[in-house]
């Protein structure tokens, strides 16, 4: 098992996903027709096409942190992000993280998701408790 990243500057294993309209629809309540699920509704709202919900990509970051630091570190995690660029079906979104500081019982990171053009989709910080070392599930 690869030990989790516990040194400032260490980069987490990224997670990359091709975003589909099906994913975007699944993220919303069943049968929902809105700017996240329907191109027509999105165009009526002035958008070029349906855009994914920003919180969909918080999931990618939570998953990346879980894989790195394990289940014991899920409880107590704090994720704080700003939503920046829209994501459309067909985009590839990659979650990334870099350790900025290691404390006695937690690790601080900068985290972000970027699209295939390198644009930041969401970006912010995470604070992850360190429990059950080396509990990563990669």
């Amino acid at each position: 098992m690869t030990p989790p990243s516990l040194e400032a500057g260490a980069e987490l294993d990224p997670i990359s996903r091709a975003v589909t309209l099906e994913d975007m629809a699944l993220f919303e309540p069943e049968g929902e027709r809105n700017i996240h699920t329907d191109d027509e509704v999105a165009r009526a709202a002035g958008l070029p096409a349906a855009i994914a919900a920003g919180v969909q990509f918080m999931s990618y970051i939570f998953d990346m942190l879980y894989r790195e630091y394990g289940f014991q570190s899920v409880r107590g995690t704090v994720l704080d992000v700003r939503i920046r660029e829209p994501v459309f079906a067909g985009d590839t979104v990659t979650a990334r993280g870099r350790v900025t500081e290691v404390q006695a019982d937690s690790v601080s990171l900068e985290v972000w998701c970027e699209n295939q053009r390198g644009g930041q989709v969401i970006a912010g910080t995470a604070q992850v408790p360190i429990r059950g070392y080396p509990g990563g599930v990669r």
Binding site: S59, D63, V81
Partner: protein, 146 residues
Amino acid sequence: MTEDERQRADQAFHELPVGTEIGGIEYTLSEERVERHLRATHQRSYPESGGERLAPVSILASDGIWLAEAHFDISESVHAGQRLEVVSVPIVGSRVRVSGKVVDKFEKGGRQFVVMDVLSEDDRGRVLARGRMTGVARYRPEGGAR
């Protein structure tokens, strides 16, 4: 939105006091709901705990949106930011109650933003998550579905 509706929404926004409690919503964290979220986000399940299936904590990130949707017009969907502190891992099958409070509001670029603190709890009395979300939201004092 018609001009009349816009004017009423503007008035409601300006009259919305910071500190307003936002009435709760409830939902069941059903197997179907969790499966749907796992498929949408390509995540794997957590290991079971004490014979109970656990849901990914990322599912709680949407709670603030469902709560906002019950009281605001968020159809412009300019969701600016979100903070989520995971307190407990949700259990599949439990009932989740979400409540909130307006903690700030501001106008920027001709849009009205609301900052809301969000609390998610389950039917065992556990706090699941504390959140703060910032987004464009036109207050509808009458509440109700969009």
